[in-house]
C-alpha cells in the first residue's frame, strides 16, 4: 500500500514536471490576462474592461494573446485565479476590482518577472502598478444636467458601497447640481453590492416613489436606468453607454474608457519599458468619456458640453471651494481645490445630501 502510494506520488510529480516545463520563447505572443469581478455581460464595469481587452487585441494583433476570468469573488478565490493566469504564462495581468488588491500583491511577490496592473487600488510594488479614473469629473457634469432637467428638484442615487470612490461621486454629483440650483436635494440608497439587478431596481423604485425624478447610480447593472425608463423619469448610464436599454430615459452616460491606457501599458511591456506607478486619469486622459447628450433641450446640452470642455482642458476642477461638509465645517476655502489625497480618502458628505453616511 505504502509503496503504491509512493509510486503514485512520483508519477504525479513526473507528470506535473512534464507539463510545467513550457518556457516562453521570444517569438511567443505576449499573454495578457484579465480578472473581472462581474460578468462581462453586466454592460457596466466589467464590460468596459473587456472592451479594453478587445482594444488590445485589435491594436497588437498576433503579437498578443488575451485571456480572462470573469465573476471572480473578491477574496481567496481571486488569488487562485490570478495565480492561474501567472502560471499559464501571462506576462501582463490586469486585476480590475479594488477587492483584488492584497491578492494581486501576494501573487506579484511570487512572480517578480510578471507585470501587474491593479485597478482602483492604492498599494504598489516594483511589478504592481495601479490605475483608476476620475469618474467624479463626469458626475459633476451629470449633476448639472440633473438640476436643469429635474422638475421636483430631487434626484435619487443608487449607491454600492460607502468607499471613498463612491462617496466622491455622490459629492461631485451634488456639487454639480448645486452649481445650478443651490436647493437641489439628493437621496441615496445603499444596495451593498456592485452588481445585483434585483436590488438595484428596487432601490430605484423606492427613490422614484419618494419623489426623485432623476435616477443615477454607482452600481454596474442597467436595472436602475431601465426602471427610470419604465416609470417615465430620466437618468444616467453607468460605466458604459446604456442608451440601448433606456432610449427615452438616458440623458448621457459616464463611460469608463480603458482602451488607451491598456494599449499604452501593453506596448510598454512589449517594448520592455514598463515601470510601476499610479495613474489617475480623467476626461483629459480620455479615461472618462461622456456618451451622447440625449433627451434634453439644446441649451442644457450646450451647458453640459461647456462644462465637459472646461474639465477636459483642466480649466475647472469639480472640487473647487468653497465646499462645506455635511456638518457645516469648511472643507476647502474659496478658490482652492481639494487635493488628491483628500479626494482619495473621502469619507464625508458635502452639505445638502439627504442621507447620513454609513460609517
Amino acid at each position: 500500500m505504502r509503496t503504491l502510494f509512493k509510486l503514485a506520488v512520483t508519477a504525479a510529480m513526473l507528470a506535473a514536471g512534464a507539463f510545467a516545463a513550457t518556457p516562453a520563447s521570444a517569438a511567443d505572443p505576449l499573454k495578457v490576462g484579465f480578472i473581472y469581478v462581474g460578468p462581462i455581460g453586466d454592460h457596466g464595469w466589467s464590460y468596459q474592461h473587456d472592451q479594453g481587452r478587445l482594444a488590445i487585441e485589435k491594436e497588437f494583433g498576433d503579437k498578443v494573446e488575451t485571456v480572462y476570468v470573469e465573476k471572480v469573488a473578491e477574496g481567496p478565490d481571486a488569488e487562485r485565479a490570478i495565480t492561474r493566469l501567472a502560471r499559464q504564462g501571462a506576462g501582463l495581468i490586469f486585476t480590475t476590482s479594488f477587492g483584488f488588491m492584497e491578492q494581486t500583491l501576494a501573487v506579484a511577490k511570487k512572480f517578480p518577472e510578471i507585470k501587474f496592473e491593479h485597478a482602483t487600488g492604492y498599494k504598489q510594488a516594483d511589478n504592481v502598478a495601479t490605475y483608476s479614473a476620475r469618474f467624479y469629473e463626469g458626475r459633476y457634469v451629470i449633476g448639472q444636467i440633473a438640476a436643469r432637467m429635474s422638475k421636483s428638484g430631487v434626484a435619487g442615487y443608487v449607491a454600492s458601497f460607502p468607499i471613498p470612490e463612491v462617496v466622491r461621486g455622490i459629492n461631485a454629483f451634488l456639487l454639480g447640481a448645486q452649481s445650478i440650483n443651490p436647493d437641489f436635494k439628493l437621496m441615496v440608497v445603499w444596495v451593498n453590492s456592485w452588481f445585483d439587478p434585483g436590488k438595484e431596481a428596487d432601490a430605484a423604485k423606492v427613490l422614484i416613489g419618494q419623489g426623485a425624478d432623476i435616477i443615477t447610480q454607482h452600481t454596474d447593472s442597467t436595472a436602475p436606468l431601465q426602471i427610470a425608463e419604465e416609470q417615465g423619469v430620466t437618468g444616467f448610464g453607468q460605466a458604459s453607454d446604456m442608451i440601448k436599454f433606456a432610449p427615452k430615459a438616458q440623458l448621457t452616460a459616464i463611460i469608463d474608457d480603458w482602451s488607451a491606457y491598456y494599449i499604452e501599458r501593453t506596448k510598454a511591456v512589449l517594448d520592455g519599458t514598463w515601470t510601476s506607478g499610479d495613474v489617475w486619469g480623467g476626461m483629459g486622459a480620455e479615461m472618462v468619456v461622456m456618451a451622447d447628450y440625449t433627451n434634453m433641450p439644446d441649451d442644457v446640452k450646450a451647458m453640459a458640453e461647456e462644462t465637459e470642455a472646461k474639465i477636459t482642458s483642466g480649466e475647472f476642477h469639480p472640487f473647487t471651494g468653497p465646499i462645506y461638509k455635511q456638518d457645516g465645517t469648511l472643507a476647502v476655502e474659496e478658490g482652492k481645490v481639494l487635493d488628491d489625497g483628500t479626494l482619495l480618502g473621502m469619507n464625508w458628505y458635502v452639505q445638502g445630501i439627504d442621507d447620513s453616511l454609513p460609517q
Binding site: 504525479a12 510529480m13 507528470a15 506535473a16 507539463f19 510545467a20 490576462g33 460578468p39 462581462i40 485571456v67 480572462y68 476570468v69 470573469e70 465573476k71 469573488a73 473578491e74 477574496g75 481567496p76 478565490d77 488569488e79 487562485r80 485565479a81 495565480t83 492561474r84 493566469l85 502560471r87 499559464q88 479594488f98 477587492g99 488588491m101 492584497e102 501576494a106 492604492y122 458601497f161 460607502p162 468607499i163 471613498p164 451593498n192 482619495l344 480618502g345 473621502m346 469619507n347 454609513p358 460609517q359
Partner: protein, 355 residues
C-alpha cells in the same frame, strides 16, 4: 411497453457504489456532446476541466484550499441532516466564527506568538457555535423552524460583519477602504512549505476522522441516526430530541465557525466584507453528495472543488464563459442525484399483456 421504477426491498449495495461512477460517466458523455456542439475538441475540454486541476502541484494545492472549508462545514452539516436538524445557516456561522477569531489580531495586533493562533481557532469555533445556538434555542424553546431562523441569521451575520469591517475594525492606514489590518506572525495559519495549503486542511481531515468514528462506532452516532430516522423510537429509547438539536447545531456551527477563521487567517490574511464565496451554502450540497457520510463528504468536497477549478481553467484555456462552467456543475449534480434513485429503485421493462 414502458419503463417503470420499482422500489427495491432494500438499498442496493452494488448501486451505492456504482451510482456515483455512473453519474460521472453520464456527465462526461453529456459534457463531451455539449463541448462538441460548441465547436471545441471534447477530449481536450474534458482534460482541461477534470484532469488539469489535479495534474499540477500548485493546482492540487489550490484544490485542497478550496475543498478544506467545504469539507469542514460539510461534515458538521452531514451529522445535522442525519438527525433531521436542518441547519441552513452555516454561512452565517462561518461569518461569526471569522469575526470572533479576528478580534484578537485586530484589537491586539502585537500579540503574534504561538498561543494567538490557538486562541483564534478556539474563538472562531466558539463564535460559530454561539451563533448556531440562537436557532437551537428558538427551536427547543418556541418550536421555531430552524430552517428559517438559521437562514435569516446568515444575512444578519453578514451585515454585522460588514459594519465591523467598514467601521471600528477598518485598517486605519487603509484610506477608509473596507478591510482590516493584515494579520502577521502566528495570527496567520502555518502553511505546508511555502505553498497555500494551510492548517485548515489538516483540521478538516481531523474532523472527518473524528466524526466518522463518532457516527459509526459510538452511542452518540447511533443516537443521531435513531432520532433522525425514527424520532418516536428515539424518545422511547430515552434519547432527547431537544438535546439532539442542541448537539447538532452547536457541532455544525462550531465547525462552520472554525472554517470561517481558517479562511480569514489562512488564504485571506485579513478581514474583508467578502469572507467566503458562499462556502456555507455549497457545503449543503457537499453534505448531500457525500450521502451524509463523513468520508463521503470528503470525496464530495474534493469533487466540487475540482469542478470550480476546472470551470476556471476552462474559462482561461478554452475561452468559454463562466456560465458554461456553471451549467457543467449543474449537470454533474443533476446526474448524481438522479442516479441515486437507482439505489432505492430498479428500472423494469413492462411488456403489454397480449390478450
Amino acid at each position: 411497453m414502458r419503463l417503470v421504477l420499482e422500489r427495491r426491498a432494500e438499498r442496493s449495495k452494488l448501486m451505492t457504489w456504482l451510482s456515483p461512477l455512473l453519474a460521472v460517466g453520464l456527465t462526461l458523455v453529456t459534457g463531451a456532446v455539449i463541448f462538441s456542439l460548441m465547436g471545441l475538441d471534447p477530449a481536450r475540454a474534458l482534460y482541461v476541466y477534470f484532469l488539469e486541476p489535479v495534474l499540477w502541484w500548485w493546482s492540487l494545492e489550490e484544490l485542497v484550499v478550496k475543498a478544506a472549508p467545504l469539507v469542514l462545514i460539510g461534515v458538521g452539516l452531514a451529522v445535522c441532516f442525519r438527525a433531521n436538524v436542518w441547519n441552513i445557516g452555516a454561512e452565517g456561522q462561518l461569518t461569526m466564527g471569522a469575526l470572533f477569531g479576528s478580534a484578537l489580531p485586530i484589537l491586539w495586533h502585537e500579540f503574534q506568538s504561538f498561543p494567538v493562533m490557538v486562541l483564534m481557532l478556539a474563538l472562531g469555533a466558539l463564535g460559530g457555535a454561539l451563533y448556531a445556538a440562537i436557532p437551537a434555542f428558538l427551536r427547543t424553546r418556541f418550536g421555531t423552524n430552524e430552517i428559517l431562523t438559521s437562514l435569516m441569521l446568515v444575512y444578519v451575520a453578514q451585515l454585522i460583519a460588514d459594519w465591523f469591517i467598514r467601521g471600528p475594525w477598518r485598517d486605519p492606514a487603509g484610506f477608509n477602504f473596507p478591510k482590516s489590518v493584515q494579520f502577521e506572525g502566528w495570527q496567520l495559519l502555518p502553511t505546508l512549505g511555502d505553498g497555500r495549503i494551510h492548517l485548515g486542511a489538516g483540521l478538516a481531515l481531523v474532523a472527518v476522522a473524528v466524526l466518522y468514528v463518532v457516527m459509526s462506532r459510538t452511542l452518540k452516532g447511533f443516537e443521531v441516526r435513531v432520532v433522525g430516522t425514527a424520532p418516536r423510537a428515539g424518545t422511547f429509547a430515552g434519547f432527547s430530541s431537544k438535546r439532539m438539536v442542541w448537539f447538532c447545531l452547536l457541532l455544525s456551527g462550531g465547525l462552520a465557525g472554525l472554517a470561517g477563521i481558517c479562511e480569514v487567517a489562512g488564504p485571506s490574511g485579513h478581514l474583508q466584507p467578502a469572507i467566503s464565496p458562499g462556502y456555507g451554502f455549497t457545503a449543503i450540497i457537499v453534505a448531500f453528495l457525500g450521502r451524509l457520510n463523513p468520508v463521503g463528504v470528503l470525496v464530495a468536497g474534493v469533487m466540487l472543488g475540482i469542478s470550480y477549478l476546472g470551470g476556471e481553467a476552462a474559462q482561461i484555456d478554452l475561452g468559454i464563459s463562466d456560465k458554461t462552467a456553471q451549467v457543467f456543475q449543474g449537470i454533474l449534480l443533476f446526474f448524481i442525484l438522479a442516479c441515486d434513485t437507482l439505489i432505492l429503485y430498479r428500472i423494469r421493462l413492462l411488456r403489454p399483456h397480449t390478450a
